[in-house]
Amino acid sequence: MTLVVALMAALLGAAKDDGFGPYKPTPLKLSIPKGWPKPNSDIFAKNKLTEEGFELGRKLFYDGNLSKDGATSCGSCHQQFAAFSTYDHDLSHGINNTFTDRNAPSLVNLAWMTSYHWDGGINHIEVQPLSPITAHNEMGETLENIIAKLNADSSYSRYFKAAFGDKAITSQRILKALAQFTGSLISSNSRYDQWKNGTLKFTPVEESGYALYKANCSSCHREPLFTDNSFHNNGLPLNRFGDAGRQRITGLSSDSLKFKVPSLRNVQYSVPYMHDGRFNDLDKVITHYTSGINYLQPTLDSILQKPIVFTERQKLELIYFLYTLTDTSFTKNKRFAPAQPITIKH
């Protein structure tokens, strides 16, 4: 009986062959850095991480055809050299010379996150791309058009077949493949990590900076991810867009002006800072916490009710520590770069 079933299965498999060979994806294991908590179990529970899925995700991430103008890819605003944020831009550029409403967050260690976006409005990594893809001031495209464009691009059949077993291009497959790529963007090899692992020593200045970080910043920017995935009002005045942050999602006035705590990893490269990119260097960020907080806001975080006091030297020490979170093996990892050189369209 077993033999008959096996034989039939083999024949059925052969009958399904479409010229790209059998479906044999290579399983990938998400490597969890030493001492880190377990990633969000939801991330790859129903999206088996494979080499082929990752590769399709990488191709999609860098494909301008996911946007209306054919040139604005995920990677346009999430640049690897800027730890997958938009370097030196408070707001990013969408199609047709538009601006986004918020600063493009760095895409790092997403598999440990419990929600996405500055307001936490996105509840699963797979559905996040729907937002930038369809927003009129980001990629401005529809899923229908993307599927049509990908179907017209003969290079994709092979990728979809390799990742999912047949050539069919569906929104679910596009989103799952993108999640395999973005969920694999792990940064865990900074000077800080090497210091934690005992493979190098901090300079005295970095050590002092670490002590200052522990005393003043670590309750929200918690090690080892340098975020606790929570939402806080850190005392910034309401911006020109009237962006109330988390309140837009929950509808609760108690969430007014609360934003997600961003990871400090690669903060040297994810400049500028805050949800609207209002600070263009780390000194301005620290100065905000020492003397810029609006204490009249009713939702101001309780931890920030008392001003943080730093000397000028201490500010520098803290910045030197923050630079130890820079991970160039992440920002230069060829696996996270486009598989082929990008053609610049003129």
Binding site: A15, N123, H124, V127, L130, I147, S171, Q172, K176, G251
Partner: protein, 234 residues
């Protein structure tokens, strides 16, 4: 040809090998939804209806999710009903005699936060919020002179799956006669969906646009169970 023979051979082997998988205890059922406003079958765009409040409106879109159909035994079947598209849905239910018919208007919480879905839940169906993850359970669009929104729009996108803001509602309908589900005959249950009951006491001029979860959406969802009644069993 050879391929077809092999497939048929495989199917026979599969049936022989797995007799338990194909159950004899299921029967088919069709639900046909008939959408009414002011006791008339609704027509897209052209006809003007009136809310119980006396506000005029037209309808350009009416879609909603129907899931967990059955009497006491929820299934994972999920359907998107479209008043101006597929308004009949077909499913398998355990054979038996049914006194009531029950379904969920909307989509179970878990499916709102489990990543990219397919089928009726594919975000292509334009029923998934991109900026605040979750499904629009019920979508009614049109125009009204009472609407102060841009272009006199009405957009009632009723959704929300968390805690107090849940908008899915279980609908339990009494049947006019006993419904027998078996393999002999596929019955059609005709269900009338009354938009007058959706509006109930709501005012278009006050809230022509509801596109976020919250109190307004919840209040609208509270009217869902009033909207449905079984007209006949065919």
């Amino acid at each position: 040809m050879i391929k077809r023979i092999l497939l048929q051979a495989f199917a026979i082997v599969a049936i022989c090998a797995l007799p338990g998988k194909l159950t004899a205890q299921n029967g088919k059922l069709i639900l046909k939804f008939v959408h009414l406003a002011n006791e008339k079958k609704i027509i897209r765009n052209d006809s003007v209806y009136s809310t119980p409040n006396g506000e005029p409106y037209t309808i350009s879109k009416l879609r909603y999710y129907v899931s967990e159909i059955g009497s006491g035994k929820p299934s994972r079947n999920i359907f998107l009903v479209d008043a101006f598209g597929p308004d009949s849905i077909e499913m398998k239910l355990p054979a038996g005699h049914y006194q009531q018919l029950s379904f969920l208007l909307g989509v179970d919480s878990l499916l709102n936060c489990s990543g990219a879905q397919d089928g009726a839940l594919d975000p292509l169906k334009d029923m998934f919020w991109t900026w605040n993850s979750g499904y629009v359970m019920f979508k009614l669009e049109g125009k009204s002179d009472s609407s102060h929104a841009d272009l006199n729009r009405i957009e009632q996108h009723i959704g929300g799956y968390k805690g107090e803001n849940k908008t899915m509602r279980r609908i339990t309908l009494n049947l006019p006669e006993k419904l027998v589900i078996d393999q002999k005959k596929t019955h059609t249950v005709v269900i009338e969906v009354d938009l007058d009951k959706y509006w109930n006491k709501a005012s278009i001029s006050a809230n022509p646009v509801i596109v976020i979860p919250g109190t307004l959406a919840k209040r609208a969802a509270d009217n869902f169970p009033l909207m449905f009644r079984v007209k006949s069993i065919l």
